[in-house]
Amino acid sequence: MDHLQQLRATIHQYLFGLLALENLSSVAIGWTLATYTHLDPLLVGLISLTSSLAFSLVIVIIMTRLVVQPIRALWQTILHFSPIDQGVAAPQFDGLRVGRELVESLSTQVFQLANVAEHANEESQRQNSNLANNFIAQNLPLPLFVLDSSETIKFANVAAAKYIGIAAADLIGKNIYMVLDMSFPSEDTFDTWLKSVKEKSATATGSWERVRLNVRDNHPTLMFDLAAYYNRANSEHDETMLALFDHTKQYSQDDQAVSFIALSVHELRTPLTLLRGYIEVFEEELGGKVDAELQDFMFKMKAQAEQLMAFVNNILNVARVDDDQLELRLQEEQWPSVLKSAIEALSLRAKVRGMRIECTMAGNLPSVGVDRLSIYEVVNNLVDNAIKYSGTSKVIKIDTHLTQGGLIETTVQDFGLGISGNIMPNLFTKFYRDHRNRAQIGGTGLGLYLSKAIVSAHGGQLWVRSKEGEGSTFGFTIKPYAQLTEEMKKTGDTDLVRGAHGWIKNHSLYRR
């Protein structure tokens, strides 16, 4: 404040002195003219006034310069210390006539502030670039990697080195893909993600589950979830960060549960493959050369092998439904041809039991959207049940027609034992079997449970109508293909892929 008062006083003094000088000089000019010349007093007054005005003008110019001087010096100082280099030279204080003390004191302040700011910036940069010295990053019990813009590892913490069994010093400077040979459960992988975010985004985060580390030698397989953070604005040395969340124990347990079913299925399928192979050889070599009884046995053998196949597929699909892994791809099909080939495969099984399948199909059915293999299994299970529960009846009727609601309905009717009303509600429950004939009729209680899941995934309904002693009718509806594509437009889906529990969006095709 003192300096400011000093400046005010100086300007004050200058102005006072100059104004006094100006007034005195105009009075002096007037007096001189009036005394030594004989001019008109009016003219004298005019001349003194004009000279006074001219003098004022000179004073204004000089004063403006003087007053602006310190401001210009300050402006120069600030720009000179600004972090953005503007090419402004340091100000010269010697030439300052007014406010020199003020400018000097303020300049010192600016210099100090700029110094502090620069220091703080340096400090933060030093801390950033030297994560290795960062206690938290280094000792966090979570494997961390930091990559530069060319995916070279710039930092790996103690946990990361320990996790993958390579010394931290050996990790630095290596390409991440050389060190972490990762397998992802889908096409959405870390490297494709990183490539696309580098093109499109300034910052992005990504996460992946069930990532597997392909390890060399005898190192145990590791499974983890992965999270990544990318920031283009970070310095080039730490553009991308990776954190690994180990789930090796949990995921390998899951895998063991799945692999138990997978292994069982494998063990069932191998003899089945052979049985079917040998049956085929017998058919080829002995067909027509054996007597009717042997021929009949051969058919029965084939039918049994096919039934076993269907059973194995049921187990697998139930496991898929329960694990939310069943994926159906609905494709445009002509329903009569799908149904016909499903029934053809089943007719042998009916035939060896002396039964026949009667089928009626309405004309003018629109094309349907179905997953062929899965819908086969529905028909398979319903006809299998009809065969099993037919009792002494020898006919199974299959009918397909258009409902009033525009859906394609297919019914499978038997004239056998029928189902009592009190067990109807449990019919579609997994492992449920009718207790009255459980001992006489084989089965697992999986067929209807699975069929319902598959029909639901098609967007249809599975129903039953039955009367004890008169037989049962099972029916299911499926949607016309046109209706599905219409629904697809509304939901914005691009692919007709569905899971047992609803839509799966934009998936690639797995089942063929």
Binding site: A262, H266, R276, G277, V312
Partner: protein
């Protein structure tokens, strides 16, 4: 051979990589009848070496094998940085059930994926006839 008319097309060669002897026996029988020339190999490591001779039009590859799994064989054969690309079409033949994602991954590296239990030897021949 001399008294028979020369076949219009030379018979196609198949390397059947399969450790279950009964299955390879059935496949060999059906494929030979179907006009293919079949070589069987049941050991993973030897099969990989045999495949790399590039003498085959088609390779049937089982996944569960001793010494080297089918997946490892497939991975090696498709790694063009390590081995020159083969002219053979590689068809996976397995009874192993995979997670859908694993299966899709394998399928994407092979020219076909068949479940052995789901087809008879004759159906296999019919399928291979369509593989060009």
């Amino acid at each position: 051979m001399t008294d028979q008319p020369a076949p219009a097309v030379q018979s196609r060669t198949v390397l059947c990589i399969e450790d279950e002897h009964f299955i390879s026996e059935l496949y060999t029988r059906a494929l030979t009848k179907g006009g293919y020339h079949v070589t069987v190999e049941g050991d993973g490591e030897k099969a990989l070496a045999e495949a790399q001779t590039d003498k085959y039009d088609i390779i049937l590859l089982d996944l569960m094998l001793p010494n080297l799994t089918g997946i490892e064989i497939l991975r090696t054969l498709r790694d063009t940085a390590r081995v020159p690309p083969l002219r053979a079409k590689i068809i996976i033949t397995t009874n192993l059930e995979q997670r859908e994602d694993v299966r899709a991954d394998i399928e994407s590296h092979a020219d076909g994926y068949l479940v052995k239990a789901e087809m008879t030897p004759h159906e296999l021949v019919n399928f291979l006839d369509t593989v060009k």
